[in-house]
Amino acid sequence: MEAVWADMALTELPSWVSKAPSNWGTTTRGKLSANNWKVICTVHLPITLIRLWGGDDLPDSRKAMLENFMDLVRAVQVANLRSISLKEIELYEYHIFRYVTSFKALYKLAKVKPIHHAALHYGDILRGFGPAHTHSAAFYERHIHSMQSKNHNMKLGLSISDLTSGLS
């Protein structure tokens, strides 16, 4: 963790990427948001872990753990692309399948959770509905906010023709 925190302090991220808390992983900081985890896992951890765990002189188990983690990183990166093709969906499925399979082999005591199962089916969702940002919760919340800011005179759900027929 010391090495990760040290690298994090030096990393310059574009302004559109929210910074993760510098003391993440401590009891003082507590829980992190989903976006914090995404930045930590896709940016900060690869920078440090590949350097520390990727060497030829390290035990195979450590390298297998790195490989397993990087499969997850690549799957998350592909799943969050702003535009997506069938080839990229196949790339997602390849990495997420490898991640879940090696996760079971590497961490015998860890339980396979529903989120792992759901992640295996996410390729079908990408195939059916397109990139993640077009059907994520944030997408719909943004539209709800947009609709709420329209003035409807407390007649929500009525069309103009309904209103005018009531007048005649």
């Binding site: 690298d7 574009p14 559109w16 539209h143 947009s146 709420q148």
Partner: protein
């Protein structure tokens, strides 16, 4: 919910009451800009506000009011001449002296600190370092040839040269002055770099778009590119590996282009 209702009422008031609208004057324009930030880019926004359907958004956006006159340093002017020679091999007339192939370009230019390309903001290193690290292509791909490899660098200057070139944006818009970006590329690792450094670089490169790569902690000569050559931002981390100071560069492209590019290079 309460603030949304107030917002809805205010919008209706501004639309329907011309007297109220005239009293608040310039505030209306700013208020509309702020509202547009909330919904920009959504299909629903286009459906609700039909005015967006008739507006064509430009790829490059910058604040014309922030343009200021400046003299380009010698190194950048030389790079700019080189850029013009490559882009317009037959450049003549007032830009070229009669008996020389050297292009005469005035050092006077209008400089900018930042611009927005397809909704992403890029800045010069002096303005906002975080937004100045980019991944870019130094030249456009030629027909039938493999595209040149993208490389990382830092934006040092953004400028408009008023006397050189203008390009048509579209038939419906007036010609706009071209924006030029001066980038200092990060120097790649040399073949003579130590085996430890090369091993670690290979370890990063093995993971492709998710792992990034290493560069030397120094800059190559500045080059000029067009904004459309910028691919994405990069995250830069200075690292000390053994006795070597290097930069780790992680491309931050989230629009697939980079993954396709890296695949092309691997194949």
């Amino acid at each position: 919910m309460r603030s949304s209702t107030r917002e809805a009422n205010l919008k209706a008031l501004l639309e329907d009451d011309s007297e109220a609208r005239s009293r608040v004057g310039d505030l209306v324009e700013t208020y509309r800009d702020i509202l547009a930030e909330d919904v920009r880019g959504t299909r629903l926004a286009h459906m609700i506000d039909a005015v967006h359907l008739t507006q064509q958004a430009a790829d490059i956006v910058y604040d014309r009011n922030s343009l200021r006159e400046s003299s380009l340093p010698g190194a950048i002017l030389a790079a700019f001449k080189q850029f013009l020679r490559c882009k317009h091999p037959g450049l003549r007339d007032e830009e070229t002296t009669e008996n020389s192939s050297d292009i005469m370009v005035s050092p006077k230019a209008k400089v900018l600190d930042k611009f927005s390309l397809r909704g992403v903001q890029y800045s010069t290193a002096s303005r906002r370092t975080r937004d100045s690290h980019v991944f870019f292509r130094s030249a456009k791909p030629e027909m039938g040839k493999a595209p040149p490899s993208p490389q990382p660098g830092q934006i040092t200057h953004i400028f408009i040269h008023p006397n050189v070139l203008h390009y048509p944006v579209s038939s419906s818009q007036h010609n706009r002055p071209s924006v030029y970006v001066c980038v200092q590329p990060y120097a790649p690792l040399q073949p003579s770099s130590g085996p430890k450094l090369r091993n670690i670089d290979q370890m990063y490169r093995r993971f492709g778009f998710a792992g990034g790569f290493l560069c030397r902690n120094e800059f190559a000569s500045p080059i000029i590119i067009e904004p459309s050559s910028v691919i994405s931002h990069v995250a830069v981390t200075p690292l000390k590996i053994g006795a070597d100071n290097v930069f780790h560069v992680l491309p931050m492209d989230r629009v697939t282009i980079l993954i396709r590019l890296l695949e092309l290079e691997d194949s």
